[in-house]
């Protein structure tokens, strides 16, 4: 019997749904907490209970990324692959990869010091959106509408001075309805989508209270998401789209460990089952 493993660091609804689905489908299933697992340079897959394929579901990006590296070191198939996680976890790398693959994406400016970031603001003009290159749930994503705010935000970055704070990611503000579209792709196929409506502010993250509403997967969404998934290396993804009033759909983010507890309630497709089926298809 094929065995599937779900690696987690915080057991959320999603991981329990995946476990239930795998068991219902008749697969032997193990749940492994990344926080209490250790490896060394002699580690072999036979020393652990990872089975035939692993779904990496850590809520901590760096923990999940490095855990994935360890699994791949032992030749254990992991979803998503290290390269996919590395790309999708970093907004700057994702933006460049999208552009390079001719996928419509907001114009984004990169600079590597406070001085050049301020120059970018002044040269491009306001408003611009500043985002941390690594992070999720809309944390520290801010629309910057004037020079005073830009200077305050940059000064704050200089005070905290973490490694990511020295990399400035500024993005054009897209003229769009107060919502975006989250599409879940499994193996390059869009399986379910929802509108995430802003609850009054600029952000549309469900984690911040945005209202989910089922979105029909049009041919345009299907094609764009297939192209996007292929560009970042495939796997199981959460692709975020905005409806630019001038250009149509643009891709602004690709998520590596997609959350789906809201969408699962209204989705026509069985999301966890699709993910488990895909994982099983990826067994070597």
């Amino acid at each position: 019997m094929q065995k599937i493993c779900i690696v987690f660091d915080r057991l959320r609804t999603e991981e329990k749904l995946l476990q239930e689905s795998a068991e219902e489908l008749g697969y032997e299933t193990s749940m492994i907490d990344a926080k209490i697992t250790s490896f060394d340079t002699d580690s072999k897959s036979t020393n652990f209970e990872f089975g035939d394929v692993v779904l990496e579901r850590c809520v901590s990006y760096y923990r999940g990324l490095h855990f994935t590296a360890c699994l791949e070191f032992m030749d254990i198939p992991v979803i998503n692959k290290f390269d996919v996680a590395n790309t999708c976890g970093n907004k700057m790398i994702t933006s460049m990869l999208l552009k390079k693959n001719n996928i419509p994406t907001p114009k984004t400016y990169f600079s590597f010091s406070a001085e050049t970031a301020l120059e970018n603001f002044e040269n491009v003009g306001y408003p611009l959106v500043i985002k941390p290159i690594i992070g999720s749930w809309g944390r520290n994503v801010m629309p910057i509408k004037d020079k005073d705010t830009a200077e305050a935000v940059i000064e704050n970055r200089q005070v905290t001075d973490g490694p990511q704070d020295r990399i400035y990611y500024l993005q054009e503000m897209i003229d769009r309805p107060p919502r975006d579209i989250r599409v879940i792709t499994v193996g390059d196929e869009a399986i379910s989508a929802m509108y995430r409506k802003s609850s009054g502010g600029f952000k549309t993250n469900i984690a911040l209270g945005a209202e989910p509403e089922l979105c029909e997967i049009t041919k345009e969404i299907e094609d764009l998401c297939e192209k996007t998934s292929k560009a970042v290396g495939g796997g199981i993804l959460g692709i975020d789209l905005m409806e630019d009033k001038k250009r149509g759909l643009v891709v602004h983010e690709v998520n590596n460990t997609v959350e789906f507890k809201g969408l699962v309630k209204v989705s026509k497709k069985n999301i966890p089952k699709e993910m488990i089926d895909y994982a099983i298809r990826n067994i070597k």
Partner: protein, 55 residues
Amino acid sequence: MNCPECDANMNIPEDASVGEIVSCGDCGADYEISKKEGSNIELKEAETVGEDWGE
């Protein structure tokens, strides 16, 4: 079992699993279930939200 922080009674669902987060209804402290064998449950302080947490 009682909250390690404020000693209030915590209602932990029977189907809760190891790794799940439970919160104290009185003081709001979050705990991770670190061990569960029948009705014997052990809790540890839950990790706080990190800068790299998310999707």
